[in-house]
Symmetry: D2
Subunit: 471 residues, 4 copies
């Protein structure tokens, strides 16, 4: 069994076994964090120099070396490989190859424990604004569609049964509300991410006169974390983000479900373009809403990432435990899956045409029953429960007679209640029904138009990504 | 098969089957929401009167009737039973029994869809502040213990291996940070809960000239939800709360794990009183930390509630689907389990004595190795990596020799590096090591004392529960 | 703070606190296991007598006392209440009240640790056959419907797009396969449940000359567990059952989804009777498939129970930990929810009428495209990929022309390939297409009929519930 | 926006968008299944030739071409890239490039829907035996250790409190039982995996006279699936495997937890070699049980995979939906993580030395209390509950006196009960206590030795991997 040599190997007479090395190496995942790692190291080196923990010259040499390593990685000249243990040691080792033993001074006053927490938080400071903007993009497409189809009427559903007519725009705005809440939640997570753990060292702090405020500011953190043990043992931010991503995916799954339903032959409410549909290898007529299905399917991946993180953190004593290395896969998985799915949904919306005549013709008939009950209550003073009961009987009668509600005669109506008069037929027009809606937030066209206007002004990104140069 | 009759039964020739009634009745769970339901109904009735949708007299009769029903439920004179469908219909039916057909006017301009969302949000407006205060109570106990044991030293651990000495108070404060973040998250959820859905009716709004602002204000909501379809189809607030509860339980599970470890014969760091320990039915000597174990075990229940909610909401088309009735069990389960567990943990802390001499004697010896490396770096200018390597060799030597690091001679040390001088032995004192810690948030006693002071001033509840009278 | 006294309280000077008692009492859940507990105790007492660990007279007194307690519980004369700790102590205490100090001998050579594992396994020996039979009942209803509608054609779907015609019976038989696999899995779990832990005592076995085979046989277990530590620390059987229930619920959720879709106005494939549908409190025309929605919604509860159990058991050291008490809620929840949902689904099937003319008319038109491609391949020797491509062009042409595939002329067809001849039109008949299916397990009517026959003969319960008298 | 061209693109005027292509391409994951895909295709082609659906010459050309493609992939001459859609189309396209249009005939009478199900099941037919053997390897190492330390005594724990002495071997055998059950479950899953879906085509079967039995046999399946719709829509086998893997990981997490505890300074029961431990980048003395921690941490990944699959399959209508493509990541993740973790655990066991003197000295003192109670019951006829109570008082007395139970005098004992005589002191010897254990499966040394012997004979693999050549 050949053995790896490690930077921390002083007290070890033999190296770790190859199987153990493969089992424990995290470079394949945490290698993605090289930008964050180098950025944090540069700030740390500069601070060490400023606070005279190392000389200014040493600091400069380390910083220049790190910048070189960054270029090497960017260009592909230096590549991570499986023989390396993790991104921190890979970069430090490369640094030391380039600038000699002084590279070993970089790790003064810190530990991989605070370093990885810094890298992750920094990564999230980039990733969360991207998710935020992805969500904004979906909102934008929804608003564009809402405006484009501002006059379109569709059947609103409860229990997937036609219930009452609504504006298509009103339906789309319900999704805008969901993604707007998602943006609120993302902002909340970001506020808790934006705290620097750097300088907590292994977990107890350090006797070097480091300046945690300085590194935090240099890296771009809003503030520092208060307790060094908590700083390295906390992964709340990842769980909270995975939970927020799970809710986003849940919203997308509902929207995807509707788009899939609506593109069936049976509903026929939408047509998606060839850009977002696929065919069958066996059935030549098929035009499948695969992209929407994949979004719906990917919700499982993000729920899984959330459970992964929650399970891993359960019952861990303080401070750092190696179990926590397992946070990378669910972190990347949740973020990338959610970001891609939001991006895909925005594209689907752009590539979808609504068949408004089909929708409108579905928005009449038995859905007008509530209007009949309302007629009895509002125009005739019948108690609601009684009006509801009378209308139920009428619906049942119409169904048995194979007629629509507007095909019944006034006499038919009057069999069930003497309160009915000729004006009942005015109540059976969906557009009148919408215009009559008066409650705030309802499907009334004026209110919907106003809601779109307000939402458009709210779409401006309230978070801007931090500025350092990352792909 | 006998059949139930239902308030909505107008169009139905037969009633629902008994099996279906039992399968679908939610009264056993949503009956808990009767206070919220009545409170919302009173506000709705008053608004109907104010806006002349019903007469003032009708409104008064309904309100008086509802208050009577509340008294009946409170006193046990009226009890829910399995023949009822849900809390809304049970109360309305009882109201109508008491005040006659006018009771049927209460449901004008609303639906069970907005009603249940109102009830749930109102319930959360009570429950979240309770959780917040429960978390505060744990924080308070942690701070009391931190002050009481301000001088106690313990071994800090990583990988459950003794790592470096820390103050017990510093360790306890790490948990304060966690629960403080939990409080932040609870406040965030509450801000999204505090929006009234009432008046969204079935989902499309209503043609009655209702005033949603008025009912929101009367009930005590901060604002109203903007889109009526979203208002009845949203359950984000429950998922977000279940996620927040999951993180709280995860924190409690870590603390419980440590208390269980520390109360073993092997660690012996704490002794819990008889009030929070139990015995064995077979082994007379046992004194088991059952309460801590139960807290750790209950984390599964809350994770399960979170997955329950996420699963149920996946892929549901808008607006309301009956699947959503299944939100009650995980809602109550997450809230009650988390609240009870926080309360229990506060009690455990009160009933726990720390064995500081045992802790302190464990906080010496090989944990001082980092100090040796730091000695070489800070006092002698050896690059960190080299200092680390030298110290590793010394630790290995001491281990083979069966000696502690402070039992080695200066000559022993000098075998590994000529940099060692007599002052190395000063570095091996844990208290000196703590006093030397200089980084912000570290285990330095002055900093820890200051941190306690700051945290104490932050413990004041920032949320006060809403005022209406509920048990 | 008042204190509870406990049977195990010898070494405790104070009792447990009231808060802790409430937090830790399990009687509200494990009280359901009283039959199993008493049955296990009777077997244990008889064995103690047979092996002369207690006298025959003592054994008889204990057994008679336990039978009395059982009658008291059955009749309601003795009721559990919250002051009790768990079902084991509640029953033993009642026993001792009735027969005096000799009751204390019952616990000789056992512990609550092996007792609860025995109770749970015994409970599952009743519950699993019930689930098995519930699944069989759904299979039976599916087969009845398959036979009733043996001639009905429906569009088969992939991606929820009409794909190829199939027999409705063939579609229903797909679900039979799922529930048949569920029965296999239930049988597998039962085989691992059917092993007695009794006699493992606290975890190390006992020095009393007990006879584990004797108690196992008396209680009705197939065999005994081999290792006493494993016997009390194992909860695999619960997880495996929760996983099996999760798969069952997943199957039910798919079936529920289809029934909900099919009962929409848009599909219109099924009509459910009033017995399994409900109305709306606001929209008089609604007839909602609530029971199917609830089944779909309840899948979350069972997934949650699975995660609950998996989380609770993660990382527990051997042997027994109090965390494991938290297994009751998910156990009961998974079993009851799954059993009720299966029962409900059987009823829904009984109460559902298929609208075969609607289905059949949906099973023509563009779904016949695969037949056109097959025509080119089989009758004309065109390579499949080319045939697929040609047919795709034809479908596109028909769509643009607003025509169905059987409304195109031979000339239309020949524009795309000279291989087309008059016999192409025969290929466009769905019934011919089904009759032409030749592959095993396909939608060919003869094969489907044969499959029904085989499945009917396989429906006989292969598990019979154990015989002892339980409600 | 550039567009991809697809094999199924006949009816599509534009190609799929690049974003959609990236979002939907599965080649990065399903490319791992190329061996299975080619193996299935060869069997299919041979059958098509045998049944004269294509000519023998065509079949031979296709088979030779596929074998060539396999060699190209094996050697790296042909590599998958992101422009490809999935493994099936990539291989077929390459085949057609090599052998011309006849390659297009391969897909006759099948679909990607049955093809992917075949590939996955075939992959599991390789993977499950590997997991089975990995579990066997852990069992083997446990048995080796159990034999090596057959005389070693350790404290058995409940609630992590010392409870009663047991043999270390007995404790290790508890894990053998767990992994033996895992092997049973794996065998059960395999029996349900071993059924061929090939020939179900898209879902309805096919009109080509294919022979499903022939391909099943050729590929190596035990039997065929009975219903073509079920054959393509079933993913039970993946969920069942992920659940089985979750239970395995749960077992490993318990073992890992114990190894971590036992390697603390406080317990000191084990020493792991350098091959499976790692150091700290900052604390030179650290020797951390990282491999055990990683195993414990990875349990989250597998639980996550299980929830992923369950979530994705929830509520999907029949037959195939693109959501199901998302099954690959959790499938590979669950299998690889579990396999690696089992392999790692076997290595840890090989590299672990038990410190038996430390264990033995921990296995005396207060754990002997049960023996005192048993003495009173068995030697003196005191009812168990009373004996338990007396012993509790003695333990409390000894604790207050700061003495061990064997340091009390006979007079001390007689204060609590006159039944005590000189022979009580014999009962306080742990080895005597073990020798006295008489119940089957207990910690009695003879029984444990016999158990090891039996388990060794059961370790032979009952599953052998299928024979075809795969890496």
């Amino acid at each position: 069994m050949s053995k790896s040599t490690k930077l921390w190997g002083g007290r070890f007479s033999e190296g770790i076994s190859d199987v153990a090395h493969r089992f424990s190496s995290s470079i394949a995942l945490d290698g993605k964090l090289w930008r964050e790692d180098i950025r944090g190291s540069i700030a740390h080196a500069r601070m060490l120099g400023e606070r005279s923990i190392i000389t200014k010259e040493e600091a400069s040499a380390i910083i220049a070396g790190l910048e070189d390593v960054a270029l090497e990685i960017e260009s592909g000249a230096f590549q991570f490989n499986d023989s390396m243990e993790d991104v921190h040691l890979a970069i430090e080792q490369r640094l030391t190859e380039k600038i000699g033993a002084v590279g070993g001074k970089l790790h003064t006053g810190r530990s991989r424990n605070d370093q990885i927490a810094t890298d992750e938080r920094l990564y999230l400071k980039r990733a969360i604004p991207v998710l935020f903007n992805n969500a904004s993009e979906v909102i934008r497409e929804l608003l564009i569609k809402a405006e484009e189809y501002i006059d379109a009427i569709m059947p609103g559903y409860t229990h997937l049964q036609r219930a009452q007519p609504v504006l298509l725009a009103h339906h789309l705005l319900a999704y805008v509300e969901m993604f707007a809440r998602d943006r609120e939640r993302l902002a909340g997570v970001l506020s808790r991410v934006d705290r620097s753990p750097l300088g907590a060292a292994a977990f107890a702090g350090t006797s070097y006169p480091i300046d945690r405020e300085m590194t935090a500011k240099e890296i771009g953190f809003g503030t520092t974390l208060g307790n060094s043990i908590d700083a390295v043992s906390d992964r709340d931010y990842l769980i909270e983000l995975a939970s927020t991503c799970s809710i986003i995916m849940m919203h997308l799954s509902r929207m995807a479900e509707e788009l899939i339903l609506w593109s069936t032959r049976e509903f026929g409410f939408v047509t998606m373009s060839d850009a977002v549909t696929t065919g069958s290898s066996i059935m030549p007529q098929k035009k499948n809403p695969d992209m929407a299905e994949l979004i719906r399917g990917k919700v499982g991946r993000v729920y899984g990432a959330l459970i992964n993180l929650l399970t891993t953190m359960k019952g861990l004593p303080l401070a750092y435990n190696r179990d926590m290395q397992e946070d990378k896969q669910p972190m990347f998985d949740a973020i990338e899956t959610t970001g891609d799915s939001l991006e895909m949904m925005a594209l689907i919306l752009r590539e979808t045409r609504f068949n408004i005549s089909k929708m409108e013709s579905a928005a009449s008939g038995e859905l007008m029953a509530t209007e009949i009950a309302d007629y009895l209550v509002r125009a005739k003073g019948v108690p609601f429960r009684e009006a509801h009961h009378i209308t139920g009987k009428i619906v049942s009668f119409a169904e048995d007679a194979g007629k629509d509600l507007d095909q019944l005669t006034l006499n038919d109506y009057r069999v069930f209640s003497e309160h009915f008069e000729q004006d009942i037929f005015e109540y059976l027009d969906p557009r009148r029904s919408l215009a009559e809606k008066r409650s705030a937030g309802s499907s009334n066209p004026d209110m919907v138009t106003e809601a779109i206007r307000k939402m458009e002004s709210g779409i401006k990104p309230i978070i801007t990504a931090i500025e350092y140069n990352c792909s």
